[in-house]
Amino acid sequence: MYLLTNKGQSRVEAGFLALVREKSGQPIERCYQCKKCTAGCPVAAHVDWQPNQVVRLIQFGQRERVLRSTAAWRCLSCETCGERCPNGIHLSEVMDVLRELSLESGRPGDRLLSQFHQSFINTLKLTGRQHEFGMLFAYKMKTLQLFSDLDIGARMFAKGKLKFMPERIRGMAGINRIFARARRREVKP
């Protein structure tokens, strides 16, 4: 099945709505495009597909378009949309699912943001706690954003706000177990 638009035809992936619905637990099919979500979204002006459009694309099984969109990665998870939706759809839960699926597909819609979150997770995985200095270093090396924010970083460091050494917790066995499960993704959403 194909969807015909003024930009040509694109394949409808019939199971996509059901998949996102099941993983997010959100009643996506109820959306009637009132656009309250987009009206209140702080980043609506900075994404390729606005929140209400993302919902429509999911309803139409537009998997590729949705997963390659910047929308999910730039979502702030501030829940303004979920609070206002007359149909009880918590879009931030949907965006979480889209981000995770787009990582699995290997082509996240905003590479800087996906790298930032992965650097954050990889740092805490090593010691059980976040270490901003190490995390920022890893992020900068991965994305080659080497010279951004050096001035702020230096001021933070001078004020004793960036620790040089990470703290390692004792219960790393528990953290390792959690990360091993996360890799296998056995727990259903």
């Binding site: 993983k23 702080p42 980043v43 900075h46 730039r74 702030l76 998870s77 501030c78 829940e79 303004t80 979920g82 609070e83 979480d96 699912v97 981000r99 995770e100 905003d110 800087l112 943001l113 996906s114 790298q115 930032f116 979150h117 992965q118 954050f120 997770i121 805490l124 059980g128 706690r129 976040q130 270490h131 901003e132 920022l136 992020y139 994305t143 924010d149 702020i152 001021r155 933070m156 004020k159 004793g160 706000k161 960036l162 620790k163 703290e167 917790i169 004792r170 219960g171 528990g174 953290i175 177990r177 959690i178 990360f179 499960r181 996360a182 993704r185 056995e186 727990v187 259903k188 959403p189």
Partner: protein, 282 residues
């Protein structure tokens, strides 16, 4: 009153002054905070953005520790609070998720330990108790109370307060003698989650919030979120000079506690000149 205390990663680093002022104010109010033994990172926005197993299990591990310690868990960071509280609600309400998280984090959820934000803790202390402790009212200080997103949304994280017009922080600051401005941006998101990777977008959001606070007549913002403070200080245009303070710092000033100057020095925008011009600090 004794509580377990979950500082989270920010309070040991970028939000050091929040940690120090929280301890000073709580001990002055007779609240005992015992750091949760061997706590780990809640995963913040990066866990739920990348992997649903991490999103639930990283907070659940800390809830398990708090249960063992046996006291309600106080969480000053709005992001940690949001994640821990949501996971606590999940454990209480979703039997399937609960079984899976119990198995993964090796504990049995009892629901006997509550997750509380610092604002909720102040609620338990009571406004009258706070008012009694004020020796140097914050007269002349006009504040824009800024809640941000994480303390008020979704519904599972807030108790009672109105999602668009929360009052908890307003009331605490009024009890300390400050003047509270009415403005419409108190629960708008500052964009903290994008602060590192998409600074350009965030600058627009931050400037808008600061513009609105200035319009409302505020001479400073007051908040209970370390990500908001870092973001609002870091990502502003040069034209903005408005300081951003933790409510605990201002309570400490009003209570006449020692050591405030050292906390103010840690801010990227030093609030000392403003407070000094109003005669609130020496």
């Amino acid at each position: 009153m004794k509580y377990s205390y979950y500082p989270g990663c920010s309070l040991g680093a970028t939000a050091r002054e929040y940690d120090l002022s929280t301890h000073a104010v709580c001990s002055h109010l007779g609240v005992e905070l015992a750091e949760l033994e061997d706590w780990s990172c809640c995963g913040a926005s990066s866990a739920h953005s990348t992997n649903h197993v991490l999103a639930g299990a990283l907070p659940a591990r800390n809830i398990a520790l708090a249960q063992e310690a046996g006291h309600d868990l106080v969480v000053p960071c709005a992001a940690c609070y949001n994640r821990l509280k949501r996971t606590d609600s999940l454990l209480a309400e979703d039997p399937r998720q609960r079984r899976e998280l119990e198995e993964l984090c090796q504990f049995t959820y009892t629901g006997t330990v509550a997750v509380r934000s610092l604002l909720e803790l102040m609620d338990a202390v009571g406004l009258s108790r706070i008012q009694e402790a004020v020796v140097r009212p914050l007269s002349g200080l006009k504040l824009a109370p800024y809640y941000g997103c994480l303390l008020v949304r979704p519904a599972s994280v807030r108790r009672g307060d109105n999602p668009d017009h929360p009052r908890a922080l307003d009331q605490i600051m009024e009890a300390a003698g400050a003047t509270v401005c009415h403005w419409s941006y108190k629960t708008d998101c500052c964009g903290g989650a994008l602060s590192i990777a998409r600074a350009g977008i965030v600058k627009e959001l931050v400037d808008k919030i600061l513009d609105m606070a200035v319009d409302a007549g505020a001479s400073a913002l007051v908040t209970a979120c370390p990500l908001c403070v870092a973001n609002l200080e870091m990502r502003r245009s040069r034209r903005h000079t408005l300081p951003v303070l933790y409510f605990t710092e201002l309570l400490a000033v009003a209570m006449g506690l020692e050591g405030t100057r050292a906390w103010f020095r840690k801010h990227l925008v030093d609030p000392y000149p403003l407070l000094r011009s109003l005669g609130l600090v020496g």
